[in-house]
């Protein structure tokens, strides 16, 4: 198990290194000149050259990359070219909002998705399956922003159940935190919940056809017990994979959701940075997203080995 972890950690490091190169070059290739953006249209060539020298933009690309890498590793993400504020502090202020939102949404998605998937399999061919299927199809086909706007109109403004916008930090007011995040998390989680529901159902159907499920039933266990103890765990591998892959969608979904509910999160920060060609911020945002991806994948792999004992064998020393 330890060896398995070490190997996966090493692979993650290599992935991150490669990703950092792609990110660095990608941002460099964006159209637009940050020096020009900072200095304004009327800046003299001397002024532009000074800014470039200041930012290190006059150096060879690989030197710039080396500096970028060293800074990222040491946690120095530079300053915003727009406001001059430290990028690290900007991210520190916005990241928790998005992390909580995504986490909340994932929990919502996995819990409702798996539960509905189980229900659909348990009552196959009866009304709970139809309802679950219809719900999944609806939430897959209705775009998030539309769902969000409907929710604001009816649930927030009409019924006054939730605040329509804003965010309260957890440490300030836990109740307010929950109240503000619940609706965005539900909206953000629905699409993923639908995918997980369908996947759970499909792999449950598969699992319930296996020989070991029949053997379990021949022991005299009831259908529900067999479903939970024999079917579910073997279906979870697929669910975890899908949830991990869909996390990317969740992050881009968060950008939209944060706009609708005016949450001061990472998504809003990203959007603003892109519009203002704020290179250091864009870079930092993308780097962090990549690190997030790689960590999630690592977690997925570790979860695999927890769910399926056979996967541990490969790394046993």
């Amino acid at each position: 198990m330890r060896r398995y972890l070490l190997v996966r950690l090493g692979q993650s490091a290599v992935t991150l290194l490669l990703a950092s190169m792609v990110i660095f070059l990608g941002v460099r290739m964006l159209p637009g000149d940050p020096a020009l953006a900072m200095a304004g249209e009327e800046a003299t060539p001397e002024r532009l050259a000074m800014i470039r020298a200041d930012l290190g933009l006059d150096q060879p690309v690989w030197v710039q990359y080396g500096r970028f890498l060293a800074e990222v590793v040491s946690g120095d993400l530079g300053e915003s070219t727009r406001t001059g504020a430290s990028v690290a502090s900007m991210i520190g202020a916005t990241l928790p909002v998005t992390l909580w939102l995504s986490l909340y949404a994932i929990v919502v998605a996995v819990v409702t998705g798996v539960a509905l998937g189980l229900l659909a399999e348990r009552y196959r061919g009866r009304w709970p399956e139809w309802v679950a299927n219809a719900a999944a199809l609806t939430s897959l086909s209705v775009p998030n922003f539309w769902l969000g706007m409907l929710a604001i109109v009816y649930l927030c403004i009409g019924l006054g159940l939730f605040p329509a916008s804003g965010y309260v930090p957890l440490t300030d007011d836990p109740v307010g935190w929950v109240v503000h995040l619940t609706l965005p998390a539900l909206i953000l989680g629905t699409g993923l919940a639908a995918v997980i529901m369908r996947q759970t159902r499909a792999s449950m159907i598969e699992a319930m056809r296996t020989d070991y499920v029949r053997t379990a039933r021949a022991k005299g266990l009831g259908r529900t017990r067999v479903l939970l103890r024999y079917g579910l765990r073997n279906s979870l591998i697929v669910v975890v994979t899908i949830a991990g892959l869909q996390l990317g969608g969740l992050i881009s979904g968060a950008v939209v959701t944060e706009q609708i509910f005016a949450l001061p999160g990472f998504g809003k920060l990203t959007l603003d940075a892109v519009f203002q060609r704020d290179y250091p911020v864009i870079q930092a945002v993308v780097v962090l997203t990549t690190v997030g991806y790689v960590l999630v994948n690592l977690a997925v792999d570790v979860l695999y080995s927890v769910i399926d004992p056979r996967i541990r064998v490969g790394g046993r020393s």
Binding site: R209, T210, D211, Y212, R214, T215, A216, R217, A218, K219, G220, L221, G222, R225, R229, Y230, R233, N234, I307, D308, P309, R310, V313, R316, S317
Partner: protein
């Protein structure tokens, strides 16, 4: 509950059982009685409905399967009318199931102890007594160190050990009736015998009745008080093993008895010395001569074991030969190295040391062009007729492929050659335009043989080539192979775990165990006066051999 002293009511009484999958009836009017403590065997080929009967008794039919008629009475209670809650009490509680494949019948993600414990908990047992009982059950089923092994997962167990766990599960609540559905057909013969002995002894000591479902008539005769023969969903014959084997009434049973390899062996032994029609008189395996098409000398193949830095000797100093136009059989259980030897001969693996020569030349040592020429002389036929033919190709394309690869002939002559090959394996010519999916298992294996014969090889490597087939089909393919050998003079390396089948086809036998040659010699020597204890073990493990004495 006995009604009167003379005729106690049977434990299980099945009358007119009908089962259908969708609209297709698969079990038709089956009557079946099992008395307390009695052992009844149901024998039949695949598709005969024997496993469906078992599933119907437990009301665990897959998918669209359902009982469409008849009654299943357990102690007078009709199970076809019982509610689901009632069936839960019956399953495991009164009727236990030992399923077929130990590889797929245990949850891979759950500790074995928990899987046994579930069989107890399903019937209300709770608390620390459960774990205690799990260990007892595992111990009784023959799992050593039950405390430690209960915490392991299925992939840490061998097939035989897993089957023991499944037996522990079936017996957990001391059911009155045990349904054993091909309980050992996925295991090696010697393991098979030990497990069956154990299962029967456990059932006997508890007075448990048993229905033993099997495709193996010999095995049924060995283990059952009564044998029932099924064909196409109907019972065609039943009686004591004596009656069914010695005086079969139904035409199908007669063919089955005639084809049962074990019985043939036993009869052959009784009539010895046998006169088998066949090629070359047993060429001494220890004295390689030019009369041999294959010479294997001191062959060693080692594999590095990952993680441990160790080395596994899969093939250990193996020497034998295949006479030209004759057949040498490699016999052994899983892990004996027989398939590794065949892969080396086919040039798919290189030996660590020693040599495997075809016509005096080694495939693995040869240069590229020569290797190609040598490959043409050695062609394989594999076990699984379903997996070894590309389902998207027509039969013509399958058989034609080696001709194209070796650049033999033009389009016209190749087409004629394919037709000729299909004739040789006794397939109608219109099969050429069909896909493998439209063929039966036996027909597919004929296609595989035609493909192997296509480039005109000197040696066919038949790796368990008849093991997956039903007995009657198996016999037909063996006849075909003998016929082809006579007509074409092709030599066979016949690889099998089944000594009974080997008897009918081979000139020489090489018995392998854990990579080493335990014994080799002519078929008659090995079967009549086996020298190695292991060979005697293997021979003794052939089901039905003891019976026909």
């Amino acid at each position: 509950m006995p009604q009167d002293a003379d005729r106690p009511a049977p434990l299980l009484r099945v009358r007119g059982l009908e089962v259908a999958y969708g609209d297709t009836p698969v079990v038709r009017g089956v009557d079946l009685d099992v008395a307390r403590g009695e052992r009844v065997a149901i024998v039949g080929q695949s598709g005969s409905g024997k496993s469906t009967v078992v599933a119907a008794l437990l009301r665990l039919l897959p998918g669209a399967g359902r009982i469409t008629g008849g009654t299943v009475e357990l102690d007078g209670e009709d199970l076809t009318a019982a509610g689901e809650a009632r069936m839960r009490a019956v399953r495991g509680g009164r009727i236990g199931l030992v399923p077929q494949d130990p590889g797929t019948n245990l949850n891979p993600a759950m500790r074995l102890g928990d899987q046994v414990a579930d069989a107890l908990r399903a019937h209300g047992l709770r608390g620390p007594a459960v774990r205690q009982r799990v260990h007892e059950l595992l111990e009784e089923a023959g799992v050593p160190e039950p405390e430690r092994r209960a915490k392991q997962f299925p992939h840490e167990f061998s097939g035989g050990m897993r089957q023991r766990v499944l037996i522990a599960i079936a017996l957990a609540r001391e059911p009155e009736l045990l349904l054993a559905d091909e309980p050992t057909s996925a295991l090696d013969v010697t393991v098979q015998r030990r497990i069956l002995d154990h299962l029967v002894a456990l059932a006997e000591s508890r007075g448990t009745a048993m229905i033993l479902v099997t495709h193996d008539l010999g095995l049924a005769a060995d283990r059952a008080d009564r044998v029932i023969v099924m064909l196409d969903g109907e019972v065609v014959e039943q009686g004591t093993p004596e009656q069914v084997l010695r005086a079969p009434q139904h035409e199908y049973t007669r063919r089955l008895v005639a084809a049962a390899p074990a019985v043939v062996v036993a009869q052959g032994e009784a009539e010895a010395p046998s006169e088998r029609p066949g090629a070359a008189e047993g060429t001494g395996a220890d004295a390689p001569s030019s009369a041999d098409v294959v010479t294997v000398r001191d062959l060693v193949k080692e594999y590095r074991v990952r993680g441990r830095g160790g080395v596994l000797r899969a093939v250990d100093e193996v020497s034998f030969s295949v006479p030209r136009g004759g057949t040498t059989a490699l016999v052994g259980e899983s892990g004996s190295g027989k398939t590794t030897v065949s892969r080396i001969l086919l040039g798919l693996e290189a030996p660590t040391s020693g040599e495997a020569l075809v016509d005096g030349r080694s495939i693995s040592g040869a240069a590229r062009a020569e290797r190609r020429a040598l490959r043409r002389r050695v062609q394989p036929v594999f076990q699984d007729p379903y997996a070894s033919l590309d389902p998207t190709h027509t039969v013509e394309r399958v058989v034609d492929e080696p001709l194209r690869i070796f650049g033999i002939g033009d389009r016209e002559s190749r087409r004629a050659r394919v037709a000729e090959l299909l004739d040789q394996v006794a397939l109608p010519r219109d099969v050429a335009h069909r896909h493998p999916g439209a063929l039966s298992g036996g027909q597919r294996q004929r296609v595989a043989i035609a493909r192997a014969l296509a480039p005109g090889p000197e040696l066919l490597v038949l790796d368990e080539a008849v093991s997956a087939l039903d007995v009657l089909v198996q016999e037909q393919i063996l006849d075909l192979l003998a016929d082809l050998q006579e007509r074409l003079g092709v030599s066979y390396l016949f690889i099998s775990h089944d000594l009974a089948v080997v008897r009918g086809i081979a000139d020489n036998v090489v018995v392998l165990r854990q990579g080493r040659v335990e014994e080799q010699g002519s078929v008659d020597d090995v079967f009549h006066s086996p020298r190695a204890a292991y060979t005697r073990d293997l021979l003794g493990a052939i089901p039905g051999a003891a019976f026909a004495r």
